[in-house]
């Protein structure tokens, strides 16, 4: 997620928490890898929706990463229901990696 300007302050906080989730194969956080597409916080419903993808369909640690996102967010927003949705659209490309992510990958 390169452009976070459309996120509310609270949604940006959620993004910061998701930054603690590391892809165990590359040891880089999934926000800088560009895997998080959108975050929406619904205050009335106490619902947080996170739309994310994975770098490859065959990623063997895919649902572990998603589970980690859910657990990490829920640990701070304890009174919210957290939904992590996986999508393959648009397909992830390396261009979605942030500059920090590229630096961590050694580029």
């Amino acid at each position: 997620m390169r452009d976070t300007s459309n996120l509310s302050k609270e949604e940006q906080n959620i993004l910061q928490i998701i930054k603690t989730v590391i892809d165990p194969e590359v040891a880089v956080n999934i926000v800088d890898l560009g895997l998080i597409y959108n975050i929406t916080l619904y205050e009335e419903n106490k619902h947080i929706h996170i739309l994310m993808t994975l770098s490859a369909r065959g990623c063997p640690v895919g649902d572990t990463i998603m589970q980690h996102v859910e657990v990490a967010v829920k640990s701070f927003w304890t009174d919210y229901e957290v939904e992590v949705e996986l999508t393959w659209e648009p397909q992830w490309t390396p261009e979605m990696i942030t500059d920090e992510g590229k630096a961590a990958l050694g580029q």
């Binding site: 770098s55 065959g58 640690v61 990463i65 996102v69 390396p94």
Partner: protein, 439 residues
């Protein structure tokens, strides 16, 4: 949590997969020890009881064993469906282990062991292969993923069946003489089907799926793979026909040309993945895999030289044929397995131990499950091993082959150390310290 299409949901039980890695590591060590004691034989001929024994434990006990285990794990990854049957997978593991043990001993002690040992071993092996092939094809039937990579895997399963059936046919033909063709000529057909039809096609399919994933390389041109598939299969069919019906005819080795071009296309595809990789620094698993591809280039060169020299300078042909075979089996296949173990086994065990602990406990990363130092060490020992083996075979020097064997044993021990360290990893989770964060 919506998780459609995730391979972990389809992953088989680790108890199906892990024993393959463990037994494979042990087989590699045994094969290396046998290589030491067969060094003398290898300077005089490329066929003989000890050589056949080593070839079979290496190809079946090491490479095939690991391939079975890895494929049972990978089929959910490449085909995005559950493995058809875990029960059949266990059965193929048991029969493979028994069959390989009997064949290896039966060949090594060819002059003293009863022939029934080899025949019974062969029976167990064919059962194992049938179970594997059936499992793979029934799994493949369910997948919607009709990609070129999957075509390679499914086709290789058919060639595996053909290889084993033909191998058993040769074994019985020695005793019962069903056809007049010599065992040597029939063996060439068997070897071609096995090395190219089974191994090469499978490795192309699996490596072409995994390497781009691990390199994090995108938008690769799959036309290379499609051409490779057609060329290798054309060469294979032509080769089998020529070797069976026109053995020992000059220049029939020309069938190998499309095979080598097909292999070059496969190399080109992975080279482009390497060049497009996002992770510039390679971890030990990928370092070893890249090394395997470098050895692959050497194999292709030696293979081409084998064809040219066997018709022009036959006296040298068995030496170069041995060097070519060794560079492929002890070289490319072995080193690729060494590398890809580090990309697969730690994750299998890590998921088993920690999947339900992520985000709740501080846990190690998959790479923390093994010793990086030990892996680096066997990276260097395997380089020394393969260089000495190729040279030793080319110049027929027993002592150099023994040195190579010694280094392979060392490589095997270091690799087995890491394999068992991973498999026997004890859970190490501590309560999570929540990150400092102001809401």
């Amino acid at each position: 949590m919506s998780a459609a299409g995730l391979s972990t949901k389809n992953a088989p039980s680790p108890m199906v997969v892990l024993p393959h890695y463990a037994l494979g590591a042990i087989a590699f060590i045994i094969a290396s020890i046998l290589l030491f004691f067969a060094a003398g034989d290898l300077t005089t001929s490329y066929i003989g009881p000890k050589v056949l024994s080593i070839v079979h434990i290496l190809i079946l006990g090491w490479v095939t064993m690991i391939i079975f285990g890895a494929l049972y794990q990978l089929i959910p990854v490449v085909m995005e469906i559950k493995l058809y049957s875990e029960g059949l997978a266990y059965a193929s593991l048991v029969t493979l282990t028994i069959g390989v043990s009997m064949m290896t001993w039966g060949f090594w002690e060819s002059y003293t062991a009863p022939t029934i040992i080899k025949h019974a071993g062969g029976g167990f092996l064919i059962l194992s292969m049938l179970l594997f092939v059936y499992n793979v094809l029934m799994s493949a039937k369910r997948t919607a993923n009709k990609t070129i990579e999957n075509k390679f895997i499914v086709t290789s399963a058919f060639w595996l069946l053909a290889t084993v059936l033909f191998g058993i046919f040769i074994l019985f033909n020695v005793s019962y003489s069903w056809v007049s063709a010599s065992s040597m000529d029939l063996l060439k057909v068997h070897v071609l089907m096995g090395m190219v039809g089974w191994f090469m096609l499978l490795i192309i399919g699996v490596a072409s799926t995994l390497m781009p994933m691990f390199f994090i390389a995108h938008q690769l041109n799959k036309k290379c793979l499609e051409r490779s598939y057609i060329l290798v299969n054309i060469g294979l069919v032509a080769g089998l026909f020529l070797l069976y019906f026109f053995p020992n005819t000059a220049w029939i080795s020309i069938f190998a040309l499309p095979i080598f071009i097909g292999m070059a296309m496969f190399f080109k595809y992975n080279l482009s993945a390497y060049k497009k990789r996002l992770r510039k620094k390679l971890d030990i698993g990928m370092k070893l895999s890249v090394l395997a591809f470098i050895v692959f280039v050497v194999s292709v060169i030696l293979g081409i030289l084998t064809i040219i020299i066997s018709d022009i300078y036959p006296i040298f042909s068995s030496k170069i044929y041995l060097a070519f075979s060794a560079s492929l089996i002890f070289g490319f296949f072995t080193i690729l397995i060494l590398g890809q173990m580090y990309k697969t086994l730690p994750f299998i065990v890590w998921l088993q131990k920690y999947q339900d602990k992520v985000g709740k406990f501080t846990i190690p990363l998959p790479n923390d499950l093994y010793s990086e130092k030990v892996a680096d060490a066997h990276y260097y020992t395997v380089i020394i091993s393969i260089i000495s083996l190729i040279i030793g075979l080319l110049i027929s020097q027993e002592i150099i082959i023994q040195i190579a064997a010694g280094f392979f044993v060392l490589t095997g021990l270091l690799y087995a150390y890491n394999t068992f360290t991973i498999i026997l990893h004890k859970e190490n989770a501590t309560p999570l310290k929540k990150p400092e964060f102001k809401k």
